[in-house]
Subunit: 267 residues, 4 copies
């Protein structure tokens, strides 16, 4: 995380370090209120939601687009549900045309059960889309070498998972996530998928991640609006915690109250 | 945590769920700025800091008292460093006289290395002090039975540890801490000691704790003022997260983007 | 753990570091086979199992006693279910008379739900029973100060929990358990309650614990006899691991295959 | 893990579920004694250890080969240190010629610091070597999709990491490792790299892994021979634990001693 600047997505400064999804809410109105409450400026959505022949999704797309316009934010189409590079590339192109943006959250799923990214197809699709001028935000696992290769291809943003989509398990492998951060200091790292609680998001930011993308944790909360606020604050707290420099853990106790006669300011 | 109310300490509503210590800061001025930035309304301090014969601590006490007055907050004297009930009771009485408050953070240390509370002496001292009209805030480990006994004695506030003082290890035993919360729904629970990062504080609040007390994590940060703000926000985030209802963890992935043709609002 | 010697219980050398319970098995015959397979030399049992008026437990007691005799082992009566020192002392005395042993596994439960020990009543009962010549093996939580006090009273064996009885959660708080080991090097430490898997028992032994006591993990396995063997070997493995000196963890990778030209024996 | 059979490596039954490395020991003699004590039947070694021009490694290779013959075991050459598929394939072919075996532990490192496998190059090299008749044992991370692809290529053995080589951190991501086991029930899964303690190996086996490969944890122990025995037993314990059926964890305590009057065998 570059301390002094805003979240940067391919050169575009973004005013919030929380990116939010637009699915699974109890109603469109609740989605809208939750997104507004979150302060998020980037909203993901999926073309797959609709059968193009029937245009059944058009109404909700318009709703989301209006909402994003209202926030002066950015639409981030995704390729959720795609299983091959080819499929993802096709969907990305349709999304660019329909949503008028070259940003694409690239998902290429390699497993039907844990919905994890397929690193091979992901790299393939990333390369093609970058070559065609897309600004690719790839969703990947916490594999350093895959992240490095995405970076080498030209991805300026990389989005490793915390845990499988929708599980709310939080950061399964903090060691891997910290390694990616330290080895790729210049890339914008957005933790994506598996976040369940505001403290998970806070922890990611304390580790130096640039932002957090989530959906279920807000959409499935009892009170999505309030949870959206909670995440917004947890992310700011984590960012400030990172910038303020977290204390070192100690193995043994250390009194916070000085012993008698110890000069006060030099305990 | 009672959702709709403020933090209650023996009937006194308090405007912040962060309680803060006054030791270990680089300078008095930094301490002051950090405490102000934290928004904390309760500041702990220790009579032990001074040799009464020399009155060397008087100046800093006055400084802290003025600061607390400025915040319209509350002084919370502690008995840090005491090893027996007798010693702690004596110090509590001195503190009441000097600081003009019947609030006492009761610490009776049973081990020199991990500075953990001695449950036996703690119960003894709590009983005596409650009988003498003190409002006792006992610092204890995460032992449910000891907490239950403190509650039975009349403690309206109980402060289990997260981990040993000054270690920054965070919540060592979330299972125990969650058990205490669920079994003692009516007591004000303040997580005390061992908190290292804003996400630790956030997590405690998500578990339904009423407040968090800390010192080292702010005082030893590279930038105590900024870290104070980070904790303040993390605590609000955790409180809101608790109130908003955290989603259930799932064992397997669940798509946040619906499959084609699934009616949008009923995925 | 004293490396060169056998498990010592109040001066009595014991040939196995696994202590086993006698409840919850599918049948007496399976219990017998499991205990024999475990190689355990100490078997716990409870007088509470029976209504003395009806002598309904006598048959099973005799069965267990015969079994223990067959293994040239030791009976360890427990005070499971007692909630006060008085109750536990009374039951201990009855047990001594009936089972003809001054060994007593002292349980004084302070909470009906997590069945955790009540430290206050436990200390009280321990003191009384030690004074009356019992060899007390107290079941306690992982509270260092309570363990220290039990030791100061004269307990030569102390049995902290891993997690609540019957949960199979394993070692909830390794930090506390390691602290107890390092601060009480001379006491025989037996990890008791909450062990679920052979690897849990192995880990306890690697930390320098002297032995492990369990029941549910064997009795509730699909195949108790095989699980008994598994635990027996896991405990020996952990003991040997402790004695052999576990390698230090490293934060970064280190090749186990040397680079070209590095002298082989000094990589 | 197929319960009733031995470890199978491409149709070859192997008498031990511990595979061992031949580097980092204090001396050749200690290596020999440790390997014999471990009961391992598969010993890894690296051609890279030597500068072919100087033949400096020939002596130690002969030593290891004699040792493996003595145990009636198998040599498993590895491609440690290779960074590209091409390099690994070349080294694998040299190894096949020199060591007279078509088994190859395939390592293609993608990062100099955490020495983690490069999934892309690994897949490429696996395909080539399988096509040339090798029996490939690929070392990979805990990425399900990469494992699935290795399996689809024809790998009958797959070796995910526990954590980076030589760190001794144990199983960093049990969720991923368990997912791989459940989704690839027919492949021989050998946990490789990062194991530090016998309990780590025991845990892997309890999860249904077929075997464990390690080096540092034995070679760097204070007493490698004793540690080798410890691991051998821990692995058998874990295997038996898996076969015996580990009890389910419970969230709340459950008495192992029945209440009064409860019929004994139906508590």
């Amino acid at each position: 995380m570059t301390l002094s600047t805003k979240l940067m997505i391919y050169g575009q400064a973004v005013d919030s370090r929380l990116l939010i999804g637009s699915a699974l809410y109890p109603s469109p109105e609740i989605m809208k209120q939750a997104i507004l409450a979150s302060g998020a400026k980037v909203v993901t959505l999926s073309l797959k939601r609709q059968n193009p022949a029937q245009q059944s999704g058009a109404k909700i797309w318009q709703y989301i687009q209006d909402l994003v316009k209202e926030t002066q934010g950015f639409l981030l189409p995704n390729t959720a549900g795609c299983k091959t590079a080819k499929e993802a590339v096709t969907l990305a192109k349709m999304s660019r045309e329909i949503f008028q943006t070259d940003w694409i959250k690239l998902e290429v799923i390699g497993d039907d059960y844990n919905l994890q990214p397929d690193p091979i197809e992901l790299l393939k699709a990333s390369e093609q889309l970058l070559n065609e001028g897309f600004k690719v935000l790839p969703y990947c696992t916490d594999d350093l070498v895959v992240c490095q290769r995405l970076y080498d291809l030209g991805c300026q943003v990389i989005m490793p998972w915390a845990s499988p989509i929708g599980t709310g398990k939080g950061l399964m492998n903090p060691y891997n996530l910290a390694t990616i951060r330290s080895r790729l200091p210049d890339v914008t790292l957005i933790l994506d998928a598996g976040i369940g609680k505001p403290s998970d998001a806070c922890l990611a930011m304390e580790m130096g991640y640039d932002a957090v993308l989530l959906n279920s944790a807000i959409a499935l909360a009892d009170n999505p609006m309030l949870m959206a606020k909670a995440f917004a604050q947890a992310i700011v707290a984590g960012e400030q915690g990172y910038m303020a420099g977290v204390m070192q853990q100690r193995q043994t106790a250390h009194p916070s109250t000085p012993t008698l006669e110890t000069p006060f300011w030099h305990q």
